[in-house]
């Protein structure tokens, strides 16, 4: 009887395999955490194009063109209809609101530090956006003094 009682004694929970799993997850997350771009906030309403470009992301003035709106530094500048600006903007070749907004950023910059590095705009645009609209945004940025661009892409 006493032998039987000894055998039926409950054993402790085996945590070794769970611990192994957690260790693997932890290592994976630590590696991902290092690769994170803290300064970049991906707009949830757009899908970036995929590219094999290997240039690393650097923070700069962020302009987003998603199908619903034009956003500068997370502030909605104007609403769009199906990713299109009003027709007269295309005729004029500029978006006055964007030019004005970027001029404000240009005035705030300290050009004694590194002018080339500062007059850059990071453009996040939906992968289905037409070139006409993309170029209109780039041209308007150029008019505000930002003639160089970083087109945000999703790495393949």
């Amino acid at each position: 009887m006493s032998r039987f009682m000894k055998r039926s004694k409950p054993k402790g929970l085996m945590l070794t395999s769970l611990l192994d799993m957690f260790t693997i997850i932890l290592i994976f997350l630590i590696v991902s955490f290092e690769a994170e771009d803290q300064a970049f906030k991906l707009d949830p309403d757009l899908r970036l194009p995929e590219s094999s470009a290997r240039s690393v992301f650097k923070p700069s003035v962020n302009v987003v063109i998603n199908p619903q709106a034009l956003i500068v530094e997370q502030k909605v500048l104007m609403r769009l209809e199906d990713g299109k600006f009003p027709a007269d903007f295309y005729t004029a070749g500029e978006i006055p609101e964007l030019v004005e907004a970027l001029k404000v950023y240009a005035e705030q910059m300290d050009f004694t530090v590194d002018e080339e590095e500062q007059t850059v705009v990071t453009i996040q645009a939906d992968k289905d956006l037409d070139y006409q609209t993309l170029y209109l945004v780039m041209r308007s940025s150029s008019m505000a003094g930002f003639a160089r661009y970083r087109l945000a892409i999703m790495k393949k």
């Binding site: 932890l26 991902s32 994170e36 194009p49 037409d130 070139y131 006409q132 790495k155």
Partner: protein
Amino acid sequence: MFNKRRRKTSEVYDLNVVPVMNLFMVLIPFLLLGAAFYQIGVIPTATATHDPNASDVPATPTTVSANLVIKPDAIALSFASTSLGEEALSALSIELPKKDDQYDIEGLRTRLTRVKQLYPESTTMTILPHNELPYQVLVEVVDGVRERPLGFDDKGDAKFEELFPVTVFSKFIPPGPDSPVLDDDDYDDEEE
């Protein structure tokens, strides 16, 4: 008594992993919040700036600058240079029609590789897409002209050869009411 003592010392204890588990349970949600599950990169580019005194052809005689016109049904590649004549430049030029509704990126890359071998200092390409070109297709073309893959090195990392890494976007000026109507041949000459 001796037997009892020996039995006591040989008893095996389980390692108490519960505090380690607690630590993991705190660390994992914290790292999950900050983890990036996608990698963002950038394509550095520029637009053409208008300078009445500047020339669009390179100053050094050993280089050529490329112009890539992306039409709805084809891509047309042409070159400009201060030292090469019209004949030499037109020999380098090529027009590649779409294949299976896709732009012939491989054909373009082959031609650019040949030009790069002839004029290795050349780096700049001006791209003139048509208005309705989707952004994803534009990025694929830019990827094609920037570099070409050369397989893998000893460490297993991908190797690339630079072709025309400096890309400048431009656009055709629509003809005004008084301008003569442009046909397809004029399309190559008028740019902003």
